[in-house]
């Protein structure tokens, strides 16, 4: 007989109260239920009602409790009292901190606002930070997209008016074939996992295209272990195969893309290769009904893909004609791709066949009529159930923009964008590049900038350059070196400021970006740039203000620290003005709110920024009598209006008759309504408006009613990109604004108006091995490694070597290797991995820490054997005469993954090399034991 079973309480109370807010353990923005006991956080789980995660939560999210009790949390404002890097600080009051900041930057605003630069890292409040920088009047503002995935965003916007993650997602409920390019983990963390699970449960297939078979690629049905930097060749080979077989969506191409647009065929014209237009500037197509030219958007027009028109002895042909000539060139064949990609031509052809079969033979029909912008009534919604996701793996190369363009053109050729089963845009997208602002950089002392910093140029006329061609911005965004730098080049801010190229600055304000460690290329030299003094003994970068919640490596290099709160101690809005949490069929935004109060003298950065704005008297941050306009960020979230009736949050606004949504007046109870609803707001897109959004009159009217834009703006997908062609024309010598000679050849190639591929620019013949980092699923850059639970999953990192290298050099378990790049050298521990491209080595991203940072002990594995690849990556391209950033020549996207190395066995050192002197910690030592139970 079993022993008498002990009595168990089967229904213990889980918590006193559940407070629902938004996670910030990564950028995914999941809804969380924070279970409270006696005012303390007892347990965190996913919110089932939330549109992003629908109840699930990743490892990071569940470990949030260890983030809000982390010993690395900063405790009070700090002013540097020793030399930079010494870590010698004194605690000061907030009043003193704000006074000090104002005393530094007010004179800059009044004399030379460009000498103040403001760059933010993993910032989800860019609509506020951008507005603030614009009011200040400096041209030097951006977030971190330049070193993250601007190629993905810019290629998406320029090609189809939207991109992956925030702006678009697979139609997970209907897709049948899912291609994942180069993603180990992504911002869209939980939705990708949920989507893959649902796809597989339905019997759908997933193909992983990645040099490394971990994580998502481990569950992919088919794995293409591609050689880094060659994704564009693989994609162009797929396009080549599909075109050659005529397996493309002709109806979709004719109606919804610029394939039928007529191009100026006059080689002598300054407009050669740009769309032919009518007298009003509207691009023309040949109308199949009449055989005559007609405006592309004319009512009833049936665009002809192969139309031609002959004028003054010159034949003008369609984009489709150029596509046939370009894509059918043998240089893009599967046979040509086999060598560089490492993928057998037969597998490429089979994948092309699989794509065509799924898109066309397994098409989806939804019985939902809809009307397009030409007045054509479609009786059904025809879907192409092929979906794609990609992010930094393809974009963080110097050919990444064109690779991302190629991927979107592949989707478009299959009719697999904004159709059922394919990719769906998330409001406020779709939005074409010409629906965005142009970039701005003109300011006058004491005045706001002339417009938003970041935008989408139409051509060379929109560059931010001086009459002599020099860049107006410190990071050289929107100069000839990075013409379409839609997110700026944060990775070049410190090097350029240090080099005085294009000019020196006085004060640099950084938020949430670990620039003295894992967020910079060339970390050791970056540290030297931050500490270097001039002949007078002054720092070359005179003043650095930094805001972070934790004792990161960058703290030691700032002069003034503004300590931020943790994510459970603050207000935030995940706004439609910024990067909201919408779904393909839902408009949605969300908030964070203080579910606990800080137990330290810290303040949310956004409230601090608003207070600084008031002290500086910035327009928009003070009332007419000069008093502060907003008490704090919550007040701003509630009451700020970007345009009349359009504010940071779209839910629970006010109309004359009561509550409304989308457009409406501010509502003092808005944040309370969000809290009561679980921290978010959603609104279903009408069924008729849920697909074909760029062309669907029902969606366009819905978007106007919600305030996404002020008038319907249907547009065509740009397979042939006129903005790129305008830059290419300049590179060919046409037009008044000409690039410098040393950039001409690069621009002519990189600005090709149809997707192309060229070998990565940083690659060096003597360095045969590709070296990559991957984001671990249970960590997020530098946010998680101080987390007591997560660091037990990834306590240190190894360099993984493929079997071919392992065997050839006789590596054994426990060995170390020396990696040499054109820029530097590291010595690190290695391990064998078979499921790896044979020319590639890799490690986990940002596990390596500097001794003394993050409240970790000095002998923590992260700081002894943990390492970064950053030391191998120069911020400038080797072998160039002038300083050229190690970036994509189109967008300035940091080319992290162009890295090539040599590898050899090394005698085991005491720890990973290079080693850095320990930092002095700004926080007390961490506890030796944890028994974290709040409800005893």
């Amino acid at each position: 007989m079993p022993k008498d079973q002990p009595g168990l309480d089967m229904s213990p109370p889980v918590s006193d109260e559940v407070r629902r807010t938004t996670c910030y353990m990564c950028a995914c923005r999941c809804g969380i239920n924070v279970h409270m006991k006696a005012g303390k956080v007892a347990y965190i789980e996913g919110n089932r009602d939330h549109p992003v995660n629908k109840g699930v939560l990743c490892a990071k999210g569940s470990a949030g409790i260890m983030q809000v009790n982390a010993p690395s949390r900063l405790r009070a404002p700090l002013r540097r009292v020793g030399p930079r890097g010494s870590g010698e600080f004194e605690e000061i009051t907030w009043d003193a901190a704000l006074d000090l900041a104002v005393s530094w930057i007010r004179p800059l605003r009044d004399s030379a606002p460009e000498k103040f630069a403001f760059f933010t890292g993993r910032d989800q409040s860019q609509s506020l930070t951008g507005l603030w920088a614009q009011a200040f009047g400096t041209p030097n503002y951006a977030a971190h997209g330049g070193f993250c995935s601007v190629n993905m965003a810019a290629a998406g916007i320029y090609t189809m008016g939207g991109a992956f993650w925030e702006f678009g997602q697979p139609d997970w409920e209907r897709t049948k074939l899912f291609l994942l390019f180069g993603v180990a983990e992504d911002h869209d963390s939980n939705p990708i996992k949920m989507g893959i699970g649902r796809l597989k449960a339905r019997g759908g297939r997933m193909v992983g295209i990645n040099p490394i078979r971990t994580g998502y690629n481990a569950v992919a049905d088919d794995w293409f272990g591609i050689t880094p930097g060659t994704d564009g060749l693989l994609i162009l080979a797929l396009i080549h195969e599909l075109m050659r077989a005529g397996r493309i969506d002709l109806d979709y191409l004719a109606r919804f893309t610029n394939a039928p647009i007529l191009l100026n065929g006059d080689q002598k014209s300054n407009d050669h290769g740009l769309p032919l237009t009518d007298d009003g500037g509207t691009p023309l197509v040949i109308d199949r009904r009449t055989g005559q030219p007609a405006p592309w958007n004319g009512q009833g027009v049936e665009p002809d893909l192969t139309g031609t028109i002959r004028r003054a002895g010159i034949t003008h042909r369609t984009v489709m004609h150029e596509m046939a000539t370009h894509f059918m060139d043998p240089q893009w064949s599967a046979d040509a791709a086999e060598g560089p990609t490492g993928i057998p031509a037969a597998r490429i052809r089979a994948l092309a066949a699989d794509l065509a079969r799924t898109a066309f033979d397994e098409a989806i029909e939804i019985d939902q009529p809809w009307t397009d912008f030409r007045g054509h009534r479609h009786q059904k919604m025809i879907g192409r159930p092929v979906s794609v996701h990609a992010m930094r793996g393809i974009s963080a190369h110097s050919n990444g923009f064109q690779t991302a363009r190629a991927l979107h053109v592949l989707q478009i050729l299959l009719g697999a964008v904004e159709t059922p089963g394919s990719m769906r845009f998330k409001p406020p997208y779709p939005k074409p590049w010409h629906g965005h602002p142009k970039p701005h950089a003109a300011g006058k002392p004491g005045q706001p900038l002339d417009g938003p910093h970041l935008g989408y140029p139409a051509g060379p006329d929109d560059l931010l350059i001086n009459p002599d061609g020099s860049p107006k911005r410190l990071d050289k965004a929107y100069s000839w070196e990075a013409p379409l730098a839609a997110h700026g080049l944060m990775h070049m801010v410190i090097p350029n400021a240090h080099a005085g190229d294009p000019y020196r600055i006085d004060t640099l304000l950084l938020y949430m970006a670990n620039m003295a460690w894992n967020s910079s290329m060339n970390t050791d030299d970056t540290i030297a740039m931050l500490t270097e003094t001039d002949e007078n003994g002054d720092y070359v970068i005179p003043r650095i203000i930094y805001s972070d919640a934790y004792a990161s490596e960058t703290i030691a290099y700032a002069d003034l620290i503004l300590p931020d709160t943790t994510y459970l101690e603050r207000h935030d809005c995940i706004s439609l003005l910024d990067r909201p949490i919408c779904e393909g069929d839902q408009v949605a935004d969300a908030i964070r709110w203080p579910v606990i109060q800080p137990d330290r003298d810290v303040r949310p950065f956004q409230s601090v920024l608003i207070a600084l704005g008031a002290r500086l008297g910035l327009p928009g941050f003070v009332t007419e009598d000069g008093s502060p306009k907003y008490a704090d960020y919550a007040d701003y979230i509630t009451n700020h209006e970007r345009r009349p009736g359009v504010g940071p949050l779209a839910g629970w606004r006010m109309s004359e008759t009561g509550l409304t949504q989308g457009r409406g007046a501010p509502n003092a109870g808005q944040i309370d309504s969000y809290i009561a609803n679980g921290g978010f707001w959603t609104h279903e897109i009408p069924a008729e408006a849920q697909f074909f959004k760029p062309w669907n009159t029902a969606y366009q009217d819905f978007a106007v009613s919600m305030g996404f834009y002020d008038a319907p703006q249907p547009y065509l997908f740009e397979i042939w990109s006129p903005p790129l062609r305008r830059f290419q024309l300049a590179a060919e010598g046409k037009g008044d604004r000409q690039p410098p000679e040393h950039l001409r050849a690069d621009l002519a190639r990189a600005m090709a108006p149809l997707p192309t591929w060229y070998a990565p620019l940083y690659g060096a013949e003597d360095y045969p091995v590709h070296a990559l980092t991957q984001r671990p699923m249970a960590m997020y850059h530098s946010w998680g490694s101080q987390n007591a639970w997560l660091r037990q999953i990834h306590t240190s990192n190894l360099l993984y070597l493929p079997t071919a290298i392992w065997d050839a050099q006789g590596f054994a378990e426990g060995d170390w290797a020396r990696l040499t790049s054109p820029h530097g050298e590291i010595t690190v521990p290695v391990a064998l991995m078979a499921a790896l491209n044979p020319h590639t080595v890799w490690t986990w991203n940002a596990i390596g820490k500097r001794k003394g940072a993050w409240a970790l002990d000095g002998d923590a594995p992260e700081a002894t054997t943990g390492f970064l690849l950053n030391h191998l990556i120069g911020e400038c391209r080797p072998g160039t005469q002038t300083r050229r950033s190690n970036s994509d020549p189109v967008t300035g996207q940091a080319a992290w993954f162009d890295l090539r190395v040599r590898i050899e066995k090394a005698d085991p050192p005491e720890g990973a090399r290079p080693a850095f002197a320990p930092l002095r910690s700004p926080v007390p030592a961490a506890p030796r034991h944890l028994r974290w139970k709040v409800g005893r």
């Binding site: 229904s11 889980v14 279970h35 996913g46 699930v56 699970g197 449960a201 481990a218 999953i793 034991h929």
Partner: protein, 247 residues
């Protein structure tokens, strides 16, 4: 020595899908969070910010690389926790009766009040599924969230183990494996669910679903309509003339 029940009314357990587990460790940390705050002593962490952080976890994910001739190497993520065996050697080896298997649902638990931390059960378990908490000195193991699955203070949909509720990929399933009509039993039948180390004779209740075959996608190639741009444009004209509105 402690006795096992002759039979249990139900066999509650987990079915873990190795085809969809992406190895994200969500289940590991959700488990850590729930069981730190709930059933028995908290799951403690030693040296949590130091050289050798070692905490108690009731569920861990291991990753194995599989290399076979004539196949691309692959990686399998393998979450592992107590399998709530029918013939649980951890129970019969317990000298105090602290380890026991519940008659009503088959869940294997440790009554911490009676546990002397001798570690015999961990030694007897062939799966390494028990961990002695270094701070409390008692044996910790997966409770199948016994304090969730019947908990009337929770909404009914939440009465499942924390690891199942949180799994983003939907790779973890919870139910009664004694009932052949239950969703989990059906899943095991359809997908060829299997026992871990059946040769140990422990009769585990938890099942694993094997990964689907990899790298055997469709072969073949598309048939060209043209080999060069001129031929393609000729084909295009013919194809367009067949579309609605074509001449």
């Amino acid at each position: 020595m402690t006795t096992l029940p002759d039979k249990t009314d139900r066999k509650l357990g987990l079915v873990i899908d190795l085809d969809t587990c992406v190895g994200c460790h969500a289940c590991v940390v959700a488990c850590k969070g729930w069981n730190t705050e709930n059933y028995g002593a908290p799951l403690s962490d030693q040296d949590p910010y130091g050289a050798d952080p070692t905490g108690t976890f009731l569920n861990r994910v291991h990753s194995y690389e599989i290399t076979e001739p004539d196949a691309a190497p692959r990686l399998v993520h393998f979450p592992k926790s107590c399998l709530h065996c029918d013939d649980a050697p951890c129970v019969t080896v317990c000298p105090t009766g602290a380890s026991y298997k519940r008659v009503e649902d088959g869940i294997v638990l440790v009554n911490e009040a009676d546990c002397i931390g001798c570690g015999l059960c961990a030694w007897a378990c062939p799966y390494g599924a028990r961990e002695l908490d270094a701070a409390e000195g008692v044996m910790k193991k997966c409770t199948l969230c016994v304090d969730r699955i019947y908990n009337e203070t929770l909404p009914e949909e939440d009465r499942e183990p924390a690891c199942v509720r949180t799994c983003p990929a939907g790779a973890r399933h919870f139910g009664d494996l004694a009932d052949p009509d239950s969703a989990v039993s059906q899943l095991v039948a359809e997908r060829g669910g299997y026992d871990l180390l059946p040769e140990q004779g422990t009769k585990p209740v938890n099942k694993y679903l094997p990964p689907r075959a990899r790298d055997c996608g469709p072969s073949g190639a598309l048939t060209p309509v043209a080999e060069d741009p001129r031929g393609f444009l000729g084909w295009l004209d013919r194809a367009l003339s067949k579309l609605p509105g074509g001449s």
